[in-house]
Amino acid sequence: MAPVGPRSGDAIFANMERVNAELFTLTYGATVRQLLTDLEEVDEVNKQLDQMGYNIGIRLVDEFLAKSNVSRCVDFKETAEVIAKVGFKMFLGVTASVTNWDADGTCCSIVLEDNPLVDFVELPDTCQGLYYCNILSGVIRGALEMVSNTSSFAQPSIPSFLWDVSLKTEVTWIRDVLRGDDAYELQVKLVKQVPEEYPYKDDE
């Protein structure tokens, strides 16, 4: 179990400013529908949703670190656990689990039983190639990259070599309820740990 800090995802979610999920769900749906109209190609929509998610993921990290008291994760495994168990709960109000670790700990699955993005959604036949929730894959990718990055700023007392990596991942859909599966499963594969430059450069 990851060192999550003193607060569980549920407790954090209870203290978050919350709104009706309907507004979120319908806004996301209307955005996907508009993207389909404007971009026409389903693949292109998948790409844009992923990009939007990535931008959101890297931006939500500050709030995530501030409110979760997550101070350090030593490796990919812990970071993935924290994002799934604390991150999903505190923002979407749903719990995700992490399973299917491979032997060398560089590949796992994040599984969601339930997900507010898809309330009311039924995919039309014309959109079978659409990964409707693809924004989530981008969010996971962005968040993993930034949690590993920014934790060093949150805890400057920890030797920086522990943090000078950025977790670059590839996220792909394995299961999707909208396509008839029993859950949402995203495979997260660590591509490489990119060495980052020391955050405080000489000329600063």
Binding site: E22, G29, F120, E122, P124, C127
Partner: protein, 159 residues
């Protein structure tokens, strides 16, 4: 027993119509639904006739036919829900005691909760981002929910 359910858009465009009867009288039921739309319009445009229930969504009994009773419901967004029910329940109920008769939903106000459930199912169906307003409802989830609601009505009234 509910034999037909219809959802009709604000320009009297059919959004959904489904009959629940063994008999081959779909056409006849469609005709009954069609005729009921005028009754709804008349009701809504003549406040005097509708009296205190002026703006209530549930319109009550629209009109009886020889074999059926037709009930209506009009949302704020001018979507009409029509239910065609058989009259059998009432006659059956006559031979039983009053409590059972009430349980059997033989009066109009008992239908109100059923309309609300239809309405809730409709609202969820049109919340699908891929639903185009004014177009027919093709959602299978909606069809299943309507069918469940109709069956549950059958249960409570068939004793």
């Amino acid at each position: 027993m509910i034999v037909c359910v219809a959802v009709v858009g604000h320009q009297n465009n059919p959004l959904y119509i489904q009959s629940f009867t063994e008999a081959d009288d779909a056409l006849k039921l469609h005709h009954i639904v069609h005729c009921s739309l005028d009754v709804v319009d008349e009701r809504v445009n003549n406040p005097k006739k509708s009296g205190p229930t002026l703006n209530e969504t549930f319109l009550g009994l629209l009109y009886p036919t020889e074999n059926y009773k037709v009930y209506g419901y009009l949302t704020n967004t001018k979507v009409k829900f029509i239910i065609v029910a058989t009259d059998l329940d009432v006659r059956d109920a006559d031979v039983r005691n009053v409590d059972i008769a009430l349980l059997r939903c033989n009066n109009a106000s008992c239908l109100s909760p059923f309309f609300r459930r239809f309405h809730a199912a409709y609202v969820d169906a049109v919340s699908n981002p891929f639903h185009v307003p004014g177009k027919k409802i093709t959602s299978t989830t909606f069809a299943e929910r309507v069918s469940t609601i109709v069956k549950s009505f059958g249960l409570s009234s068939a004793g």
